[in-house]
Symmetry: C2
Subunit: 342 residues, 2 copies
DNA sequence: CCCCCTATGGAAAGCGCTTTCTGGCCGTTA
DNA sequence: TAACGGCCAGAAAGCGCTTTCCATAGGGGG
């Protein structure tokens, strides 16, 4: 018996001398069963090391124990830290996580949502910025809406436009503003921004908040001072290089993510510029590694793991009413040694 | 029709005016079907946006499109980089990846394998060092063996003992030795080692290779020079602190992973010691970030993404004969600025 | 003492798909 | 012309589970 490929509920029922129905009821606690039989079934199940077949359960209508998570790239510390939070909460609730990396291809994201839907995942989490592309947004919504109508839960981290779903929103705009204020307070007056692709909502928010606050303070930031690049370490390096080639006039560079800031620091080092003596650099996110850089990075710190935890919790708890819930997550400016006085 | 929660094969068959069997045959290419019917089924399927229910397929005996991966912690750059490789290959083959983090609890790993098995995942990948604990090893084998007998594929990265499965083995022992040699060549004679938990095979191999090579060269390394700590950044910090409190006599510190080395660098910085002027530090793995540290870290570079890719490929390709395959992956010593002349 | 109601276990339907088994309609061959 | 073999499409079984619907037994009330 032990050596059969798969122990089925029928085996358990037979061993316990009860019917399938009874065995099922005992194992799921669905209905009252005489204590004696309950005990027999329990023992049989554990002796046979019975594990229910989730596919059969899914087919029979029970919610699946695997939630889906779609992010841009697991190997990016931002996503892997958020994913960590997701997985902890998932693990605590006995759930597995199906994690997909889109490698930043928007349509791959939709393809994954479709696969996850087909899998009948009870919940889908979308981590990371959305794209500002109407066609794409419609296609995604077309995939998500029927899914939700069918009882699927959806929660997103860090995107908002046009998606009627529960979401966890880090304070991107306010963060950008707070950082601008803090840098101005340090005495800086000439800024440059290393931005990610404009199509990402996160980028628009962070840069927007940063710029608006500067404008409010009377410090100008022209479009020329904003360089767009890939949302990666190498993107940051490239953008910083462009800036340097142009003849850097800014005394402080704001990279919209810490990952890009790391690239920027490398570019500066390679050109022999000192941070913060020659240029100050600030990032955004507070991924774990930035404490250990030299100099440690000034940044807008977001509780990354918490973003993931909240999203998972959102997807786990019933929502009442049709309104989508929004959890705004605050952050704080952390001044470290990468920024000096302006 | 479009608005039904789920379009089933029956809907497609009905729309095309054929039987379920025929529809299934067309969609799977299982058997010849008259071209005209084929066409009708195809069109019906695409018009209804039909997506097969993987659970029903699984139940009916078709292999699942989701492979399972178990690692210690996604947010550790080592694992997330390896996972990246896995996911790329998986994505290229139209597979989803179910990723689980054990948070370094050995028995959680077994629990996950059990869940993955129950899911009927066609393949399971175990990433990261195993534990040297006979009871645990037996329990894991007891879970894996029936799975493989039932046709499940298993591949592991970085562990070997007592598991008869296909594996990808980075040259941990040789790497430790090569690093020892390189450091001795730089002139170092007094070493200390920041080791992870001894129960991890990876640790044993790396430290073993390192120590054996030193002994061969006539350089002593006593047990007192080896400090054991958590396999994390903070573990590295703690171990380095212990060493410093004891009064560091070594001129070169070898941390068995880059992540621990990062912690060690932080501890040294906090104590006001300069690297490499006062102490040299070397790591192992070459996770992406170490290039960007100050000073950049000397390390034994492993092609991390490739480890994941190879493992995924191993699990994807049929193996002939009962022998388990082993792919040894070489690495190379990369000397950077964190090590000076001894 | 009988009837009805409740508590509990079993039989069976059904989830959506694959695949074997059957049977009808051809074209062949003797 | 009759018998036979091939090819294809449909019917139906079965994957493992949940859940509804019944049947039965036991207890309480009339």
């Amino acid at each position: 018996m032990r050596d059969r490929i798969h122990v089925t509920l029928e085996d358990v029922a037979k061993a316990a001398g009860v019917s399938l129905a009874t065995a099922s009821r005992v194992l799921n606690g669905t209905a009252r069963v005489r204590p004696e039989l309950t005990e027999r079934v329990r023992r049989a199940a554990s002796e046979l090391a019975y594990t229910p077949n989730p596919h059969a359960q899914a087919l029979a209508g029970t919610p699946r124990p695997t939630v889906g998570v779609v992010c841009h790239d697991v190997s990016d510390p931002y996503f892997s830290t958020v994913a960590r939070g997701v997985m902890r909460v998932a693990g605590d609730n006995g759930l597995l996580v199906t994690l997909a990396s889109t490698f930043r291809d928007p349509y791959r994201e939709i393809a994954y949502v479709s696969m996850l839907r087909a899998q009948r995942a009870p919940a889908i989490l979308l981590i990371g910025s959305g794209f500002e592309d109407p066609a794409w947004e419609r296609a995604l919504a077309a995939e998500l809406e029927p899914y939700m109508r069918g009882g699927g839960r959806v929660a997103v981290v860090s995107r908002h436009r046009s998606l009627r779903v529960d979401s966890v929103l880090p304070e991107n705009r306010a963060g950008g503003a707070a950082l601008a204020r803090a840098l101005v307070d340090l005495g800086h007056r000439r800024f440059a921004v290393l931005a990610g692709p404009r199509a990402l909502t996160t980028v628009a928010d962070r840069v927007g908040g940063f710029r608006d606050e500067l404008v409010k303070t009377g410090v100008p930031l022209s479009d020329d001072d904003i360089v767009e690049a890939e949302f990666t370490r190498d993107g940051g390096y490239a953008a910083m290089t462009v800036l340097l080639d142009r003849g850097l006039s800014a005394g402080c560079v704001f990279a919209v993510t810490d990952v890009m800031a790391i690239g920027a620091l490398a570019a500066l080092r390679d050109r022999g510029l000192r941070v913060p003596a020659d240029v100050s650099v600030a990032g955004f996110d507070d991924i774990p590694i930035v404490r250990d850089l030299t100099p440690p990075l000034t940044t807008f710190a977001l509780p990354l793991e918490r973003l993931g935890e909240e999203a998972m919790r959102l997807a786990l708890t019933e929502r009442r009413g049709p309104r989508n819930r929004v959890i705004r997550v605050a952050g704080e400016v952390v001044i470290r040694a990468s920024t000096g006085r302006g």
